[in-house]
């Protein structure tokens, strides 16, 4: 039950975030560029690609057959996002996260975004662990 709730929360977050960013890739490109980590054309390419990756993985989390792969991707994305937000916070950039469209700007807003991102990483890790446990249990049941 808790595992199902966790999957639904994770899926909802990434479907919402991906959907918002897919509606305005130009705005998202500027948000990525604000972090000053990539040349602008790379930011524009990521702005076109990432929302669809989030949407696809958000849906895939709810689909048993491809759930482990989705959790691996989302875990990787979460680690990258957390690192990027942390770097912006450390450099005191007066920017918004860019995670959900109209974010607040500034250091405290980035701190909130970082905490949220770390929470999602932990949730992904826990759900991936649960998938592995289920896989092990199924394997033991078959061989037992």
């Amino acid at each position: 039950m808790i595992t199902s709730a966790g999957r639904i929360v994770l899926a909802a977050v990434f479907l919402y975030a991906g959907g918002l960013k897919a509606l305005d890739p130009a705005g998202f490109a500027l948000s990525i560029d604000n972090y000053r980590l990539l040349p602008y054309p790379a930011a524009a390419a990521l702005a076109l690609y990432l929302p669809w990756l989030e949407l696809g993985c958000g849906l895939a989390v709810l689909w048993l057959r491809i759930r482990p792969g989705a959790l691996v991707v989302l875990l990787g994305l979460g680690l990258v996002f957390s690192g990027v937000i942390a770097s912006a916070w450390l450099r005191s950039l007066d920017i918004g996260c860019g995670c959900f469209g109209g974010d607040a700007h500034g250091r405290s807003a980035l701190a909130v975004s970082l905490v949220r991102s770390v929470f999602l990483v932990l949730l992904c890790g826990w759900l991936l662990g649960r998938e592995w446990e289920q896989h092990s249990a199924d394997g033991a049941g078959r061989s037992g």
Binding site: A22, L23, D24, P25, A26, G27, F28, A29, L30, S31, D33, N34, Y40, P41, A43, A44, A45, A47, L48, Y49, W52, L53, G56, C57, A60, I66, P68, G69, A70, L71, V72, V73, G76, L93, D94, I95, G96, G102, D103, A104, H105, G106, L128, E131, W132, H135, S136, G139, A140, S143
Partner: protein, 154 residues
């Protein structure tokens, strides 16, 4: 399960997971390429073409007709100090503050949005939303923001 069996099972599980991840990573390319070709709000490949143009305070000051100044900073910053006559409108308080802006705006008015300084991005975000959601084309970003306006008063 013996320890070797567990190792093999783990290897198989993660191999399958990474293979699925690869499929998802590749599958996302298709809508991304379509968005790049057809999305009405696709980014240009040049930053300057995607950003809202900036204008200096010396230009804004000389604008004929109705001139609206929008403060995209936090409520707290606005309350402390702001350009006289500016309207507060940040992304965080968008729904709450937008009606006052709409009431003040008239066709033909030029809008200059500002935030703290040249490094902040809130003004670009607010200006983009005004253009996109209200269809107002004469929206610009005040170059250097609040900091530049303060300098100009010296």
């Amino acid at each position: 399960m013996t320890a070797p069996d567990k190792m093999n099972a783990a290897r198989a599980f993660f191999f399958r997971a990474f293979r699925q991840a690869g499929v998802l990573l590749l599958a996302a390319l298709i809508p991304a390429l379509l968005a790049g070709a057809f999305h009405p709000r696709r980014p240009s490949w040049s930053r300057d073409q995607t950003m809202i143009p900036e204008v200096a305070w010396s230009t804004v000051r000389e604008w004929p007709g109705l001139r609206l100044l929008v403060d995209a900073r936090s409520e707290e910053a606005f309350r402390r100090q702001h350009i006289p006559g500016a309207l507060p409108l940040s992304e965080v308080q968008w729904e709450e503050r937008l009606p006052a802006f709409i009431k003040a705006w008239q066709p033909g008015a030029r809008v200059a949005v500002y935030c703290d300084n040249a490094g902040c991005q809130a003004s670009q975000a607010v200006a983009r939303r005004l253009r996109r959601e209200l269809g107002i084309n004469d929206v610009f970003v005040l170059k250097g923001g609040w900091g530049a306006w303060l300098e100009a008063q010296k």
